[in-house]
Symmetry: C2
């Protein structure tokens, strides 16, 4: 059982919080205007990428020693035709640079809120959460926190793989926005 | 019904050829040492990326006016830790630059040979082929050629999206190589 702090009370924050609660963890939500006081051992930044950057910059000391989970898909939402991070980097890598004392990992950017809540992709395949990061401990902490939630975690590798996870998430969002898939469907990971 | 030429007689070439044959097309294979004579209206480069580059460079005139299908995942196979194409580009974009008179599209890099043959991902989800390219006609020609094969095509957008398709394919290969998924499973696209 872990103390989890979730920045953001939107669809994604609530879906992740629901799974964490089901996993037996203590979940606290922080909204936009809430003061940042004591944070849990796992901090989920369930906000858009620019807001995640701002939270990281403003809370370097508070986030030190924490597992910080970046869920963002850093789309250019004006064009829906690219990401706003450098082509050879990722949102997670950018956040990790800002937070050298934190264990920053990617997770939850490859699953829509609807598939986290339903625990199924397209009504048939079990929802799985892919994670990437350089701290095996941090990825294990996330895996442990989700044990008991019926959603399993797949370790997709080192922090460098966050770039591919973001491409995957971006692609999935463009397909949904173009009605090629639904927001309750998308990409499933099957053994 | 189209005339299809497939460069490469490996697992992927054979799997794609099988679908094309089932779709009622005439399929011809070209091996490494075969002379390049008359090519079909759709040419599939079912070879590794360096070989695809070499074929493109050697056959610019022969490939003019053709739909050229790039199936490659341009991994750095020494490290399995990155792609050999520039971070802001893709294998397909590089090939399209070499072949300005051809209609170059990406396809089949997001499906393993095993899931093309079985027509299922992980034994449960229907196999779907994602494609990307700037020619709607070329993508439609591929879709038409596969009609009747039980494998459907999803148009993932413009040539720029080949970059994300390659990230997706790369990620999928690393997961299979690390036994997180099997070579008959992987990523499925569900509505």
């Amino acid at each position: 059982m872990a103390d989890i702090t979730i920045f953001g009370k939107g669809n994604m924050g609530q879906a992740i919080g629901g799974l964490m609660t089901q996993g037996g963890n203590q979940v606290t939500y922080l909204g936009h205007a809430d003061p940042v006081t004591a944070l849990g051992s796992i901090v989920v930044l369930a906000v858009p990428y620019p807001a995640a950057l701002a939270i990281a910059k403003a809370n370097v000391a508070q986030l030190a020693g924490k597992v910080v989970v970046d869920i963002t898909n850093p789309l250019d939402f004006d064009t829906w035709d690219g990401l706003v991070v450098p082509a050879d980097s990722s949102a997670t890598a950018q956040l990790a640079e800002l937070l050298p004392e934190s264990q920053v990992i990617k997770a939850f950017n490859t699953t829509f809120a609807g598939t986290l809540v339903a625990k199924q992709v397209g009504g048939t395949a079990p929802t799985k959460v892919m994670t990437a990061g350089d701290s095996a401990e941090a990825k294990q902490a996330l895996t442990t926190a989700l044990a008991g939630s019926d959603v399993t975690v797949i370790d997709a590798g080192a922090l460098k793989r966050a770039r591919e996870l973001e491409a995957y998430g971006f692609l999935q969002m463009t397909l949904a926005a173009n009605d090629k898939i639904s927001w309750n469907g998308g990409f499933a990971v099957l053994k």
